[in-house]
Symmetry: C2
Subunit: 211 residues, 2 copies
């Protein structure tokens, strides 16, 4: 990856380490809705960006086939919670042909509500027993909401992100340790969060009642 693109990615919040963003991917033609959204970590290490996708996930299925996707940057915690556990409604997506790609027949779905969108191309795939590792490169940076000019440092928002991860692990393992962590996150959300963080947390907590 060129260092200029690298710096732009960083300025868009795609930093070294793992950026927890909502990835939107195109579904297969026979799917009931055309796009999927899911929070996924974009990993940046030694100047390379890549994804580690678990087999069986929708993002895995889609990016095995599709070469383009979008990383959506937002502080909308409800979008994080919903897209972790459910399909987002078709109306949440916008499928644009972005300028530098207009020579391609491809359109990339993104979230209408995202403040920033980074479009990516998959440039290499490697499969292991239960993982698909995809090298990715940013191809365009879009400011969808120019009004958003600062960035959030709210423990409540952060705790929603954590709780989505812990609930996913809890559902896979039923390990009580994760449930305990979810309750710790709840305390933080109730104390520090915004109305939308509390709403997002309710979506997460409903998963406990799921049969």
């Amino acid at each position: 990856m060129e260092s200029g693109i690298f710096k732009t990615a960083e300025n868009f919040g795609l930093t070294e380490g793992i950026s927890e963003l909502i990835l939107t991917t195109k579904n297969a033609k026979d799917d009931k809705i055309s796009a999927n959204a899911a929070p996924i970590g974009i990993i940046q290490k030694n100047g390379k960006l890549f994804l580690r996708l678990f087999k069986g996930s929708k993002t895995y299925e889609n990016l095995k086939r599709e070469d383009f996707f979008a990383a959506n940057i937002t502080d909308d915690s409800v979008l994080y919670a919903k897209s972790t556990f459910y399909d987002l409604d078709e109306s949440q997506f916008e499928c644009k042909e972005y300028q530098p790609l207009s020579t391609l027949a491809e359109k990339i779905p993104a979230l209408k509500k995202a403040d920033r969108v980074v479009l990516f191309k998959c440039v290499g795939r490697k499969e292991t027993e239960d993982l698909l590792i995809i090298d990715v490169e940013p191809i365009e940076f879009v400011i969808q909401n120019a009004g958003k000019s600062g960035f959030i440092v709210n423990r409540g928002f952060n705790a929603v992100i954590e709780a989505c991860i812990y609930m996913t692990r809890y559902e896979l393992t039923k390990n009580q340790e994760y449930a305990d962590k979810i309750y710790q996150m709840q305390e933080i959300v109730l104390k520090c969060g915004r109305a939308e963080d509390k709403e997002a947390f309710e979506i997460i907590m409903k998963r406990f009642q799921k049969p």
Copy 2:
């Protein structure tokens, strides 16, 4: 607070709930350095913004006397860790007379490295036994680093913010529960954080060795 200012504050990341930002305040004239920096929660509730300052803290001392301060928005986790436990070096501050205040003799210190700065005025003070509650109003919004155009969602950065809080509580109470949480945060920083998050965490961990 007018609703326009309110919306601008939100767009700068000063959301409902508690925004954990680094507050810079002017020190008393006899102090060895001219300004102080400390991470403080700015609380937004029912359309009002206020601070809850514990008695004895430097920010408490300064804002009992001074009417203006800056809220610094940054994803520089080293600044968070250093300003939680130590005085920042004089060279980190810049003391500007901002345009709408130029009629005033006042200058407000801010952090040179902050991406965004919101200048505040204290408009009301209320003291309880161990707290000073100050109603505040934003008076100016400054984009210091226009290159930063997106925002970070990195669990490592978030874990540094948490660990600063837990270490502060641990130092006050010596409660092992906080030490355990700090080690949990360390795991997240090592897995997801940027180089600067790891550096910030080392600053935090050194406090364990403090006599």
